[in-house]
């Protein structure tokens, strides 16, 4: 029994250390993403954005976080209190869990599993439960509507995300995220699969409840959607979970279409830069696009959102799966053939 403890103690400690190595930069990333989001949005509208707390307003987000931590947690009287408190925890935990398989550089990944892309797809499809549980347990009308909208929306757009992932997998021949990146050594996938890149980007906006698809929390109709009854720390957990999911979707876009940690051209000054810098730059670029969409595009009406998901993206991505596999088959380009 002692040997068992000895064997596993060091292993468990190493894993905890690795988890912290993911978690701490991620939290920092979320803080910066929140700040960047507000700054970009402000710049588009010719405002200054946060500029009071700290140099250039950099400490605005930590200050907001502190404010939320010291606020009282209000539990609505008619709510289902256990589910009400579990919901934000599930949202945050799931969004962090998905990062375990994201490779930031060749070989730098916590868990290099064979079915990495399926794992991320599975975890992100679980994300809807946090929202559903929050909406139901609040026992209030606006959160409930928000939860119903969100569930329908996320399930719909998951379908087309799944098909887009399949088109990428057809070109790779593996479900491993590292191999997906390495398959893009000659050409990043957003060039041959450009329509799918667009479909994936828009579906990622819908999947993370970002504007113009933020109907679950549309403040003009539903107060704050599923978050209406939340205050203090649980609200922060939702906010962080949401932003970690957004960063995950940016990382997924980078890995699937923009060549992960690979430099744009494999020549000397570019390939001397460490891989994670390229990865970070690409994630920041995709996040910039996310923030710009939020600033530019007005919110969709709900039936338009559903129409886009089921009548436009689903046939398009289904056709792309058939077309891609046919082309790969007839020109003998399919990996492993």
């Amino acid at each position: 029994m002692i040997s068992l403890a000895q064997t596993y103690f060091i292993e468990v400690m190493t894993i905890i250390l690795y988890c912290l190595l993911i978690f701490v930069p991620l939290l920092l990333g979320v803080v910066m993403a929140l700040y960047a989001d507000r700054k970009i949005w402000a710049a588009v509208q010719k405002r200054r954005g946060p500029n009071v707390v700290g140099p250039y307003g950099l400490f605005q987000v930590p200050a907001d976080g502190l404010k939320f931590i010291f606020k009282e947690i209000i539990l609505p009287d008619g709510s289902d209190k256990t589910v009400f408190l579990i919901a934000p925890i599930i949202t945050l935990a799931l969004s962090i869990t998905a990062w375990a398989v994201v490779p930031v550089q060749a070989g730098v990944v916590l868990a290099n599993i064979n079915v990495g892309i399926l794992y991320i797809f599975a975890i992100s499809s679980l994300g809807v439960y946090g929202i559903l549980m929050a909406g139901w347990s609040s026992n209030s009308k606006y959160p409930f509507f928000g939860a119903l909208r969100s569930a329908a929306q996320m399930v719909s757009y998951e379908v087309s995300i799944g098909f887009v992932i399949i088109t990428v997998l057809l070109c790779v021949g593996s479900l491993n995220l590292t191999e997906i990146v390495m398959a893009q050594k000659t050409m990043w996938f957003f060039i041959p699969l450009f329509p799918m890149f667009i479909v994936f980007f828009i579906s990622a906006l819908a999947e993370t409840n970002r504007p113009p698809f933020d109907l679950p929390e549309a403040e003009s109709e539903l107060v704050a959607g599923y978050q209406t009854e939340y205050s203090g720390m649980p609200f922060v957990l939702f906010l962080f979970g949401e932003y970690i999911n957004i960063l995950l979707m940016c990382a997924m876009t980078t890995i699937l279409f923009l060549g992960g940690w690979l430099p744009p051209i494999d020549i000397y000054p570019l390939n001397a830069v460490p891989g994670f810098v390229w990865f970070l730059l690409k994630v920041i670029f995709v996040f910039y696009l996310f923030a710009m969409v939020k600033a530019f595009v007005p919110r969709y009406r709900y039936d338009q959102l559903m129409r886009l998901g089921w009548k436009v993206f689903l046939p398009l991505s289904l056709f792309a799966v058939v077309a891609t596999s046919s082309i790969l088959f007839f020109f003998n380009l399919a990996p492993g053939m």
Binding site: V115, L118, F121, V128, L132, W136, V155, D303
Partner: protein, 204 residues
């Protein structure tokens, strides 16, 4: 007697407890949530068996899609009136019957394999050689070759079920206005910009 065994007991223990909670909690939404918990732990058991592809598919299909729709429907029920726990005992005989059938099937399979799971005589077709293949490749290489008929058949059954349920619930309603996006987009030429003179109005 290692961590693997401990994980197995953890997963199967949670499955048993949460399955029990599915049928014993008063609140239907809690039942569905416990059902989801037991699905997740079943996926964990698949991972212990090194069947990670099956585990992920179980989570994506059952937890990510089917259970969401399930929860979606149950959440909208007015369950305060529909719950009646008094007559729950009336389902015990049929529950025992189903349990006995399952146990009998398990015993038959275990006797036939003589407790040696590498003996695969119970399967209808002999399995190919999977050495050096990953989980996903192995499933793909038999599913689309040896078992293509069963695969296609189950696909057709699902398709028929889907079309059937759409046909059953489809009804034409009178006076519903629909948005036709292509028509809206083609309206461009019919819109005129008119410079309206002050005090004179405009003829339309």
């Amino acid at each position: 007697m290692t961590a693997q065994l401990l994980t197995f007991y953890l997963f199967s223990g949670v499955i048993l407890i949460s399955s029990l909670m599915v049928i014993s909690t008063k609140n239907p939404v809690h039942s569905v949530l416990f059902l989801i918990l037991s699905f997740l732990n079943a996926a964990g058991l698949f991972v212990i068996l090194h069947a990670e592809f099956l585990a992920m598919i179980l989570i994506i299909v059952y937890v990510g899609a089917v259970a969401v729709l399930f929860l979606f429907v149950v959440m909208m029920l007015d369950f305060k009136t529909s719950i009646n726990k008094d007559n729950i005992l009336q389902y015990i005989p049929i529950g025992i019957l189903i349990g006995v059938v399952f146990i009998a099937e398990l015993i038959i399979v275990l006797i036939n394999t003589k407790f040696d799971l590498s003996n695969i005589q119970v399967l209808p077709n002999p399995l190919s050689d999977f050495t050096g293949k990953s989980n996903t490749e192995a499933i793909g290489s038999v599913l689309y070759t040896d078992y293509i008929l069963y695969f296609q058949l189950s696909g057709v059954i699902l398709l028929v079920a889907m079309i059937g349920s759409i046909v059953l619930t489809l009804r034409e309603r009178e006076g519903v206005k629909r948005q036709v996006v292509s028509e809206q987009l083609q309206r461009q030429g019919k819109i005129d910009l008119v410079d309206v003179k002050s005090g004179k109005g405009v003829d339309i």
